[in-house]
């Protein structure tokens, strides 16, 4: 196991923020190195420094023992380093081939692009990941999971010695995650170094060999994964131990709060009926692409529907009318926080009060102090990590952005909460905070739908679990008789389970 890359005392300062403040780390071949830390600890920033996107403010990077400077992504690619970034980094209007080869297109002897060879290479790589798609498919026509696979293929296409994966599993479901683990192990055996960033500890224990912990941009420690427990890691990350990930509750289920009857959008979800009760946490599980998000969007009224009805307290909600839904006490935390959740260029305060403007306004004019106090309260509740509340949300780390979205919806004082992947991409401490908070809300009589692709979360939180597959509700479980195996089996489909067994 040779040292490939060494970082020594690397700093990165943005105006007003010390994203990295003296980080050292060694990346070795044939090793999976987990990089962990709370939201905003500086993980993604480190990735960007390693891939030539950001210049470090100070510090040295050694490649094979020699000092190196990565001024552009080309430099780091030349050094054999590539990354799967946390943010979407695809070209939706370009083909798969093009997405893979952008930045290092192959050329023929006339200096013109050699599309034939590139397509052949793409086909080859796709087959390696058993992805049966034509290389000239546009990426915008791919599912989220497929896109992720293309990202991985992209990393493989430049025979990298170091592959960095920044939360690669955040929008993958179990099957794909298992495939990813396989791939990581294969790569490791071939001598590739992997840097693996994740907020999910079970993943880290599953694939990683060593770890490095960052806290507030500072290096906190490293070691071998086999020597530590989850608690150790949490303590290192947060500086304190974590009680428990899921809250202890004794649910008291009340009246029907929300009733969905025969909801259909052709080709997306079909004939979905269920009821949600006050005080209940209703988990929705399914593989990615099962149609849960679309169903929730339709219930809330931001997506059209072809048939069916949604009723709250005897009142029917109209399609494409989120205002009416909100008036009936609905709140909806969407899954894609950057696209659907936050307004990146607006401040934390403005984001927080966006859905409850009327409540913080007098005669249609928002009142500054009201807005501030509302936001302050919520920020405290979620331990939001921000310099100031007037700060742009864009400058927050992913997890902190998610907290802002949660705050926004709590500010509307809802009675029914639809949470679509509410903890995606947020660190374990915050995740626990969100969980306990969701639990509290349920105990106070709120009705909650929790959509998650994390089986543990659904199992740990829900009073009842509904499983969706290919746009249909296929099963329901009470929390007592829900087991990981059974829920997963129905989500994948019996045939697949038998095959896998």
């Amino acid at each position: 196991m040779a040292d490939i890359v060494q970082l020594e005392n690397v700093r990165k300062y943005f105006p007003g923020v010390k994203a990295l403040d003296g980080v050292s780390m060694t990346i070795r071949s044939g090793e999976v190195h987990a990089l962990i830390g709370e939201n905003g600890a500086g993980k993604s920033t480190l990735v960007k420094i390693l891939t030539g996107i950001h210049d470090p403010t100070s510090g040295t990077i050694l490649v094979d023992g020699e000092p190196a400077s990565f001024r552009t992504p080309h430099d780091s690619q030349a050094a054999g380093i590539t990354a799967i970034h946390q943010e979407a980094s695809m070209f939706p209007n370009l083909t798969i081939t093009e997405n893979i080869f952008m930045g290092h297109h192959l050329r023929n002897r006339f200096g013109l692009l050699d599309w034939k060879t590139m397509e052949a290479r793409t086909r080859e790589l796709c087959e390696r990941l058993s992805l049966a798609i034509s290389p000239d498919t546009l990426v915008r026509d791919l599912s989220v999971a497929q896109r992720h696979q293309i990202e991985i293929i992209k990393a493989l296409s430049i025979d990298a010695r170091v592959i960095i994966m920044d939360e690669p599993t955040a929008s993958l479901s179990l099957k794909e995650i298992q495939e990813l683990y396989e791939l990581v192990r294969t790569l490791r055996e071939q001598g590739t170094a992997i840097v693996f960033i994740s907020h999910k500890f079970e993943e880290i224990f599953e694939v990683a060999d060593t770890y490095t912990v960052l806290r507030d941009g500072k290096y906190v420690g490293n070691g071998s994964v086999s020597d530590v427990t989850t608690d150790d890691l949490v303590r290192k990350m947060a500086g304190a131990a974590l009680d428990r990930l899921f809250p202890e509750r004794t649910p008291s289920i009340g009246e029907v709060a929300l009733s969905v009857q025969g909801l259909t959008q052709a080709g997306v979800f079909e004939d979905v009926s269920f009821e949600l009760r006050n005080g209940e946490i209703l988990g929705f599980f399914g593989l990615i692409g099962a149609g849960r998000s679309e169903l929730m969007q339709s219930i809330f009224g931001v997506r059209s529907r072809d048939a069916g009805s949604v009723t709250v307290a005897g009142e029917r909600l109209d399609p494409l009318n989120p205002r009416k839904s909100m008036a009936q006490g609905l709140a909806f935390v969407p899954e894609d926080r950057q696209e659907q959740g936050v307004i990146l260029d607006m401040s934390i305060i403005e984001n927080t009060t966006l859905s409850s403007l009327r409540a913080v306004s007098r005669f249609g004019f928002p009142q500054k102090h009201t807005e501030r106090s509302v936001t302050e309260g919520l920020a405290k509740r979620f331990s939001l990590r921000a310099a100031r509340l007037e700060q742009r949300v864009a400058a927050l780390s992913g997890g902190n952005q998610q907290k802002v979205v949660l705050s926004k919806w709590l500010a509307t004082q809802p009675r029914i909460l639809i949470l679509d992947e509410p903890t995606r991409g947020i660190d374990v401490a915050t995740k626990a905070a969100v969980h306990s908070f969701v639990g509290e809300l349920a105990d106070q009589g709120y009705a909650i739908i929790l959509v998650s692709s994390e089986l543990h979360e659904v199992l740990g939180m829900s009073d009842r679990i509904l499983v969706m597959r290919e746009g249909r509700l296929v099963a329901g479980f009470d929390s007592e008789d829900a087991s990981a195996e059974r829920v997963l089996a129905t989500a994948i489909g019996a045939a697949a389970v038998e095959q896998g067994a």
Binding site: G16, K18, P322, A387, R388
Partner: protein, 340 residues
């Protein structure tokens, strides 16, 4: 913060640059022409750019929500034409105004309908309706002009408030600017516009009626264009289909020079006000010393570009200063973040 830092910080703000520009324009013009600073001239000069200034107000909102309307000048033409037809038919001034406003409103609603119903980018749609609206004026009027508007109409577009020297259009603009400014910067509506311009999807997912607001803004833009048509018609007391030719890009220029991001989500009324008067008085001043119009074009063009480059330069400078400061041994970590 040191004085130099504070200075640099100040100039990062677009409006600050515009203030300097406006002052510069005044100083320059006053030194070049003895006629410039006469109050009557300063007031009268506004007649010539108030219609465009008024158009810049709703256009600013449209651009802030991330859309654009290239058809404004065409809307002015069709509104003036309809108003002229009403006048020909013997309508009184209130009816004429109502017809112009109604026509503008309809034109704006048509834009809104096509943009929102078919989800076509507004720049594409309004390039089409630009020809359509003006084309309808040509189809109606052909080579005819409408004249013979009642002379009382003149009191609107070329009149003064009572016995003062204050032009009526200037006052109308001031009132409208105040309304638009308060709405944009103080009301929840304005907040929503910024949100929509920054991220329309997230705004919709936050429960804002995005399409309805956009429809209202397009219609409002048409309505105000109808009103601009009334003012312009009353100023020149005649209508031809080529009225207000090429104003669309001039109005857009006013808005973007005012610091409104063409991509939406950013901009202030103050910036647009400054830009209106900077360009207006620059042109007036240069014409007082009889600079050829084309050269005036060159100067305003360079001004437009310069006004954008400068704040960017200052911003870079200020960022560098802040980072430099951070690189010094951190004396007090708290002030470090709070100071930004």
């Amino acid at each position: 913060m040191s004085v130099s830092q504070r200075l640099v910080r100040f100039f990062v703000r677009w409006e600050a640059v515009l203030v300097v520009l406006l002052v510069g324009v005044f100083v320059l013009n006053a030194s070049l022409s003895p006629f410039f600073l006469r109050r009557i001239n300063l007031l009268n000069a506004t007649f010539n750019f108030m219609e465009r200034a008024i158009m810049a107000l709703p256009m600013m909102l449209i651009i802030i929500v991330g859309e654009i309307d290239i058809s404004v000048a065409g809307t002015i033409a069709i509104s003036s034409t309809m108003m002229g037809l009403a006048a020909r038919a013997g309508a009184g001034i209130p009816v004429m105004i109502a017809v112009a406003l109604g026509t503008g409103l309809l034109a704006g609603m048509l834009n809104a309908f096509i943009v929102l119903k078919f989800r076509v980018p507004s720049i594409a749609v309004t390039i089409g309706t630009m020809s359509l609206f003006r084309g309808i004026s040509y189809a109606i009027l052909g080579n005819q002009a409408i004249t013979g508007y009642p002379i009382e109409l003149a009191s609107l577009g070329q009149g003064y408030i009572g016995n003062t020297l204050i032009p009526v259009p200037l006052v109308i603009f001031a009132v409208l600017a105040a309304i638009f400014g308060v709405t944009l910067h103080k009301s929840s509506l304005g907040r929503s516009f910024y949100a929509i311009g920054n991220n329309a999807v997230a705004a919709r997912f936050s429960g804002l009626p995005v399409d309805r607001y956009k429809a209202v803004l397009f219609s409002l833009n048409g309505l105000v264009a109808g009103f601009a048509a009334v003012l312009l018609t009353s100023r020149i007391l005649s209508t031809r289909p080529n009225i207000a030719t090429a104003w669309e890009l001039e109005v857009v220029t006013l808005v973007v020079l005012g610091g409104v991001a063409i991509t939406g989500g950013k901009g202030t009324i103050f910036g647009v006000l400054l830009s209106v008067f900077t360009i207006g008085y620059l042109r007036f001043g240069l014409s007082l010393i009889n600079v050829p119009s084309q050269v005036v074009g060159i100067i305003t063009g360079l001004l437009l570009v310069g006004a954008i480059v400068l704040p960017g330069l200052f911003e870079k400078l200020s960022d560098r200063m802040i980072i430099d400061r951070q690189l010094l041994p951190p004396a007090d970590p708290d002030t470090d973040t709070a100071g930004s």
